[in-house]
Every structure is written in structure tokens, then in C-alpha cells.
């Protein structure tokens, strides 16, 4: 019976509304007191049922809930014959809850859509070899699953049979599909755009990369800042205190009407819902735009950031160095020299060596002997009877190569342009100079200007590259400071110094080799693919290596933090006004109190909903 009533709450609300209308028509049009009172009485009683049951169930688990305050107030109203009041109050309370549910669902929609990206079922290979559709909860590690074209892959696994194009945007933010064949890993939540594959489940449920992202987002929604924890504790005591206050007022004044009005006015509504609503709407906007913010504490800190420190390679730059300038000192033998350089550089997996090999392209491959890699300098080897040295200036000095005045000028010119230098000598003679540069990401400058507009005062780049290269990048992008020759530990040391100086620092890196800095900074921001490390150590994850998301993330954090403050002001303001008017005015009644109350709850929800549509201008 109790459960039946609770499940029909919406219908009860509707009947209450109809009865209220009948009651008012009877009073003003028909002027029939009997019908009026009858309608209000019935409306009050049926509206009271679900509220009373909820209050009773809460007491059973030792919680004093809002329902209890309303229940006592309505019983009191019946006792003094205020049928209209009780009808209006119960209706408003139920209708308010209904509207809150609808609007709250809207604020939560973005994240809900994200969590629903993993399929509920999977095609699992049974003992007889056939594939059958089973619930995702019945899939275990090691099971073999069939994935058809257009379906979402349900687990992290390895392809056993078949191949296809997989769209991994949900994990990496990259919308171009990737070709996957036998032996390749696939991820839960990604879409098989064409082809059919059989996958062995390696990780399932919350252990998958996508599962971790979802868990992070879900918990971020409910993570609480210090202020919120305070409000929570406050509201836990607040309700019983209001109840006691009502009792005291009744004992002192013997005025039941005043006492029950206080019970209704005291309901903690907007105060407890205001901040979580801003939080969830802000996080939802982020999730939709490829920005994962880890909870409301992060939003608070991020909104106050005044210094942003960047890693260079792979963050400000694309991370894919290319040969940009060359100078040749021996034109006769060019083809041979290129072939020698390529043969030697193929021995190395250094990014600069890769850039050189890519630049030279197809060439004759010579056998390479006596290869010696000198760390931080270059590589020396014997090719086709010649001693070939490829590396930086330090290597040339070690090899006693004579550098002409013209070559020195070239070196200087190349370095000023922001190049890393690769010099080649053949049998101790200078042959070629190459300048290698990493391209700056498109539109970075525009996005950095947006950060400045959002109030970031210091933009600093830290890099392991030489100072010349870093300076060029800093100048081109208008950064405030640039430091080269930095190892990962130097970077975290530098951040510590900034923090000691009272700055609130955000560090932006690729999340792979900068985890100490990511962890140390108030806000660690990992760019690019959602790798496990990035997800775990950072506070903000940018799913796509797109710089514009960074400015959006900061703008969103600021907007969300401001929205929370607005909601607190609305909530506290309303309670103060209500309490003041109960003592100092004669128009305040239970119904008006409930109306204002539900109105303020909807006001904070609608205010929070603005964040769903937030866009950085």
C-alpha cells in the first residue's frame, strides 16, 4: 500500500491540482463553502499521504527529513481547520519535487549520455562456439566477444579475428577512425565503424580505460569542496534545529499557526541543492566539450589560477619535429652524403634522427659498422669506408671538425630561428647543416590570448630544449617567461618556487613524462589522449590535443565557481527574507512560504542550467 502510494506521486499531484481548482471555483464563482472546504480537505489528505509515508520511512532509518517538517505542519494546519493551507502546501511540495526532478535531469544529461556509451549487452561466444547476446555483467575476462559494424566495443580487449576501422573519439578525442587488425588492442566505448571483429576481453567494467573515465566523472560530480562539506554538515543539523525551534515557538507563544509556518519556512531547500547543481551542470558542459574536470574542489582552484606553466614539446608544439632549414657545404657529393646520413640516422630512434630520415626520404641504404652513440651529442659510424659523424656542435668539436666562419654564421642564424641543429661531417670535414624545428600548434597564440583575457597573468614555458629554441617559441607566442635546458625534476622545482611566491599554478603537459609537475601544481592539466597516467595524476584532462579546450576549461571553471556563489546568495537570501517576514510582517503564511521556497529551489536549478550552454567568447 505504501509503495503503491509512493509510485503514484505524480498522479496524486495532478489530482491535488484539480481539487484546488475546483475548490477555488466553488469559492469565488459558486460561493459554495461546503464544496470549497470539501475539495481543499480531500486535496490536503491525499497530498499528505506520500509526504507522511516518506517522513515515517525516514524516521525508521533515524533521519529527520524535510518531509517530517512538512508532515507536522500539515497535521497542525488540519488541527486548526486551515484546509486551504494544507492543500496548497502539500500540492506545492509535491509539484516542486516533480519540477526539480525534471530540471535536475536536464543538468545531469551530458554526463549521463557519456556513461551510457558502453553497451549494456555483448555477443559472447558460448561453449558450443555460437555467439549469444548476454548482459554485459555476464562477460568475464578472457571471454570472446563478437562486435559487428556500427556497434560499440563493450570491453578493453585484443582482436583475435578480423579487422575494421575504429572510431576512438571517446578515449582519445581523435575523430578520424583508426585501422585495427588482429593482435591490436581495442577499447570499451569506441565504435567499430566498419568490419566485424572477434575480441578477447582483457579488462571489463570499471577496469577499462573508459570505465575509469566514467568513474572519475561520476565521482567528480559528487566530490565536495570544503564549503560544500560544511553545508552538508550544516543541513544535517539544520532540519532538527528547525523542528526544535518550531516546538519552542509553540510552547512560548501557544500560537500553532506561527509554529507550523516556521516549520515550512525552515525547510533547507535551495541551500543544499544550489552548489551541487552548479557543479554538475559545469562538469556536464565540460564532458560534452572534451574537458574532464575532477570535481568541485578543482573548479574552485582552477578558477583562481594566475600562472600557467607549459611544457613545450607536444604541448605548445605539435611534438613532431621537421627539418626546416638546410645549408650544404659540398654540392658535388650531395646524393652520397644524404645516403650516408640516412643510413646512420636510421640506427637511432632519437626524434631529431627521425626527422632527418623523413626529410631525406628514399635513398641508397649502406651497411653501417662501428656505430657509437654519444649521449646528448650525436652518433658516429663507419659507412662505405668513410667516418660519418652526425650530431651537434659538441660532437663536431670532439671530432675536431673545422667550422668555417660562414658555417658559424649559418649556425647562429639557424639557432635564432628556433632550430635544433644537426651537423654532419664526413672524414672530419664539415658537409652539411640541418635546422630542425617543431611546429607550433595552430591557433595557440589566439588561445593563449584568451587565457590572458580570463585573468592569467603569467604564461611560462619550461623545456628540455636549448634556450634559443625556447626563446623563439616564447617570443612568437607572447609568453611572459621561457626556460630551456630543464629536466623533469627542474620543472617541478621551478613550480615549487612559483608556489612559494604565492602564485596559484596550473601546469599543462602531455601527462607522460611530466607527472611530478602535474601532481605538484595546484591544477595539473593533461593534454591529449586519455591515457591512464594522465587521468590519474591530473586534475583536468583535455581529451583532445586541441588548445582551444584549455581556454574553454578555464572559462568554464570561472563561470561555474561564480554560479555556485550566486546560488549560495540566492538560497541564504531567501531564507533570511522568509524568516524576517514571519516575525515582522502579517502577510506571511505557510502557503506563501512554501511557494517562495520551491521558487528559490527552481531559481538555483535554472541558474545552474545556464552553465550547460556556457560557451567561451
Amino acid at each position: 500500500m505504501q509503495r503503491f502510494i509512493l509510485s503514484k506521486k505524480n498522479q496524486i499531484t495532478l489530482i491535488g491540482a484539480i481539487l484546488l481548482v475546483i475548490g477555488y471555483i466553488a469559492r469565488f464563482a459558486l460561493e459554495n463553502i461546503a464544496i470549497t472546504n470539501g475539495a481543499f480537505f480531500i486535496a490536503g489528505v491525499i497530498g499528505f499521504l506520500p509526504i507522511g509515508i516518506q517522513a515515517y520511512q525516514a524516521i525508521k532509518v533515524r533521519v529527520i527529513s524535510i518531509d517530517l517538517l512538512v508532515t507536522i505542519a500539515v497535521i497542525g494546519a488540519f488541527y486548526i481547520g486551515e484546509y486551504e493551507e494544507s492543500a496548497v502546501v502539500t500540492f506545492l511540495f509535491l509539484f516542486g519535487a516533480f519540477l526539480e526532478q525534471r530540471t535536475l535531469n536536464k543538468t545531469r544529461l551530458a554526463i549521463k549520455e557519456l556513461t551510457e556509451m558502453v553497451p549494456e549487452t555483448a555477443l559472447k561466444q558460448m561453449d558450443n562456439g555460437d555467439f549469444e547476446e548476454v548482459d554485459i555483467w555476464d562477460v568475464d575476462e578472457g571471454d570472446i566477444l563478437l562486435v559487428k559494424t556500427g556497434a560499440r566495443i563493450p570491453v578493453d580487449g585484443t582482436i583475435l579475428v578480423g579487422q575494421g576501422n575504429v572510431n576512438e573519439a571517446s578515449i582519445t578525442g581523435e575523430s578520424l577512425p583508426v585501422v585495427k587488425e588482429v593482435g591490436k588492442e581495442v577499447y570499451a566505448g569506441t565504435i567499430l565503424e566498419n568490419g566485424t571483429i572477434q575480441v578477447r576481453a582483457d579488462r571489463i567494467g570499471e577496469d577499462t580505460t573508459f570505465g575509469k573515465i566514467i568513474e572519475l566523472v561520476e565521482e567528480a560530480q559528487d566530490s565536495k569542496s570544503e564549503a560544500e562539506r560544511f553545508i552538508d554538515k550544516f543541513s544535517k543539523w539544520y532540519t532538527p534545529v528547525v523542528l526544535i525551534l518550531g516546538i519552542i515557538v509553540f510552547l512560548l507563544t501557544r500560537n500553532l499557526e506561527l509554529a507550523i509556518t516556521i516549520l515550512v519556512l525552515g525547510c533547507p531547500g535551495a541551500l543544499v541543492i544550489g552548489v551541487p547543481v552548479s557543479n554538475v551542470a559545469g562538469l556536464g558542459n565540460g564532458a560534452k566539450n572534451g574537458v574532464l574536470l575532477k570535481g568541485s574542489e578543482v573548479i574552485q582552484d582552477f578558477s583562481r589560477v594566475d600562472t600557467v606553466v607549459f611544457d613545450k614539446t607536444g604541448t605548445l608544439t605539435i611534438g613532431n619535429p621537421e627539418v626546416a632549414d638546410t645549408a650544404v657545404y659540398d654540392n658535388d657529393n650531395l646524393d652520397n652524403i644524404f645516403a650516408y646520413i640516412a643510413s646512420v640516422e636510421k640506427e637511432s630512434d632519437h626524434p631529431l634522427a627521425k626527422a632527418v630520415v623523413d626529410y631525406i626520404g628514399e635513398s641508397k641504404a649502406y651497411p653501417v659498422t662501428n656505430t657509437k652513440v654519444i649521449k646528448g651529442a650525436g652518433i658516429v659510424a663507419d659507412v662505405d669506408g668513410h667516418r660519418v659523424a652526425v650530431g651537434n656542435l659538441a660532437l663536431m668539436e670532439a671530432e675536431k671538425v673545422v667550422i668555417s666562419d660562414k658555417a658559424y654564421e649559418d649556425l647562429k642564424r639557424f639557432e635564432e630561428k628556433g632550430n635544433s641543429l644537426v651537423i654532419t661531417a664526413l672524414d672530419g670535414e664539415l658537409k652539411m647543416l640541418m635546422g630542425i624545428r617543431d611546429q607550433i600548434r595552430p591557433n595557440v597564440k589566439k588561445d593563449l590570448n584568451k587565457l590572458k583575457k580570463l585573468g592569467v597573468r603569467n604564461l611560462i614555458v619550461l623545456s628540455g630544449d636549448n634556450q634559443g629554441t625556447v626563446d623563439v617559441v616564447a617570443k612568437e607566442l607572447g609568453l611572459t617567461k621561457a626556460h630551456g635546458h630543464m629536466l623533469p625534476e627542474d620543472k617541478s622545482e621551478y613550480i615549487k618556487k612559483l608556489q612559494a611566491g604565492g602564485q596559484i599554478v596550473a601546469f599543462v603537459g602531455d601527462g607522460v613524462n611530466d607527472s611530478p609537475s602535474l601532481a605538484l601544481a595546484e591544477i595539473g592539466i593533461a593534454m591529449g589522449s586519455g591515457t591512464d597516467v594522465a587521468i590519474e595524476t591530473s586534475d583536468v584532462v583535455l581529451m583532445k590535443s586541441d588548445f582551444s579546450h584549455l581556454a574553454h576549461a578555464l572559462g568554464l571553471a570561472k563561470a561555474t565557481a561564480a554560479n555556485m556563489k550566486q546560488n549560495i546568495v540566492i538560497a541564504v537570501g531567501v531564507v533570511l527574507i522568509l524568516l524576517a517576514s514571519v516575525f515582522f510582517s502579517d502577510w506571511m503564511s505557510m502557503s506563501i512560504g512554501m511557494l517562495v521556497h520551491q521558487g528559490s529551489i527552481l531559481a538555483v536549478i535554472f541558474n545552474g542550467m545556464r552553465l550547460i550552454y556556457y560557451k567561451l567568447r
Binding site: 505504501q2 509503495r3 509510485s7
Partner: protein
């Protein structure tokens, strides 16, 4: 020890979280430390001893409070 994820109908008041939390924690066989009621995703996550208590028991405790249970899964 089994892990359960229970999807509820939309939770609208943080107070509901408190109610569900104490109701679920009050069941014998539920690992108290593990109970997490997620307000925004309207989910309950918990670990329990399936010799002492079943997912149906937990479901019942929640519906008795007046909250809808959409799905309850355990593994």
C-alpha cells in the same frame, strides 16, 4: 564478497542520499565502508556478503523509503 551497482530513479534532494545511506548501511551483510550513494548519477555502489544479504534485500530497503530502483547488478 560481491560488488553491486544499483541504479535509482533521479534523486532530487541531498537529504535522500542520507536516508538511503543509513538504510543500506543498516542491513546485515553490507560492508559499511564500501557504501557510496552518488547523488548526481543517482547510483548506489556497495560491497556485500551474498551469504548474508541479497541484492533483492538491498533493493527492498531502498524502495521501502519511496525511491525507485531501476536496476540492481552485482558481480
Amino acid at each position: 564478497m560481491k560488488k553491486a551497482v544499483i541504479q535509482l530513479g533521479t534523486l532530487t534532494c541531498p537529504m535522500c542520499v542520507q536516508k538511503i545511506d543509513s538504510a543500506v548501511k543498516g542491513l546485515d551483510g553490507v560492508e559499511k565502508e564500501s557504501v557510496k550513494v552518488l547523488f548526481n548519477s543517482s547510483k548506489v555502489k556497495l560491497e556485500f556478503d551474498d551469504d548474508k544479504v541479497s541484492t533483492e534485500d538491498i533493493e527492498k530497503a531502498i524502495t521501502a523509503l519511496g525511491y525507485e530502483v531501476k536496476s540492481a547488478r552485482a558481480r
